[in-house]
């Protein structure tokens, strides 16, 4: 079946069926993708980078608690918490 000769969209569909990427397109894409990859990229590193702020905060809090326990011996938990919070706010 042939398309009606006065159907421009059908003619344009057929005329543009042969459109292909120009030479070198794939290599340009590869270069663009390569530029987005950190040189030391790895899934683990990416996870650490993404979670880094939270990991740092959690580690800091843990250190503060350990320091407070070490300095204050067997004080009650309430006192330890107060110490930690006061040290964090200083």
């Amino acid at each position: 079946m042939t398309e009606p000769p006065d159907d421009p969209m059908a003619q344009l569909r057929e005329a543009t069926d042969g459109v292909q990427p120009s030479a070198g397109f794939a290599s340009r894409v590869a270069t663009a993708i390569q530029a987005r990859k950190p040189s030391t990229w790895s899934p683990t590193l990416m996870l650490v980078e993404r979670r880094g702020l939270w990991l740092t905060a959690a580690a800091g809090l843990a250190c503060a608690v350990l320091l407070a326990v070490n300095l204050n011996g067997l004080k009650t938990l309430n006192a330890l918490v107060i110490n930690v919070l006061s040290e964090l706010t200083l």
């Binding site: 569909r13 990427p21 990229w41």
Partner: protein, 175 residues
Amino acid sequence: MSLKDACQRIQSGDGNAFAIIVDATATQLVRLAARIMGDLSLGEDVVQEAYCKAYDALMDGQFDGRSEVQTWLYRIVTNTALDALRSRARRTLPLGNADVSNPTDQLEARAALRALDGWIADLPPDQRVAIVLKELEGQSSVAIGKTLSISEGAVEQLLVRARSTLRARRDRQHD
């Protein structure tokens, strides 16, 4: 290797596996983008940007593999092209004037794209995309709606308006 396997390899750190996806999809996606933009070079720019978006999405774990990779990329390319058309419309720049990088490459295809660009030049970006997806890419209204995140009824409205504009244009040319 399937495209989903390639995606998994990329997500596990093998960035070179992206070339497999490009090799398998570039022809279809560049033709789609070139038809929407009415220009091969602009179409390639759109697809390159879309590939970068897809790569970033894979790295961020945003592609869950529930849809086909090609369908997913098709949507990214279409919406990237739509954004480019809207951006150009806001800046009121003419379309189709950037295609000067290699004028001897694919002469016939470039001429056909210029003709297409001229024919649909009067359409707003969303109507332009809808008519290209329907008439040139052979997509259903449901599929177009999913791609553009609008209802099937909204797609039909876009198509009615676009066809009305094109019919009026053809009538003017025949007179």
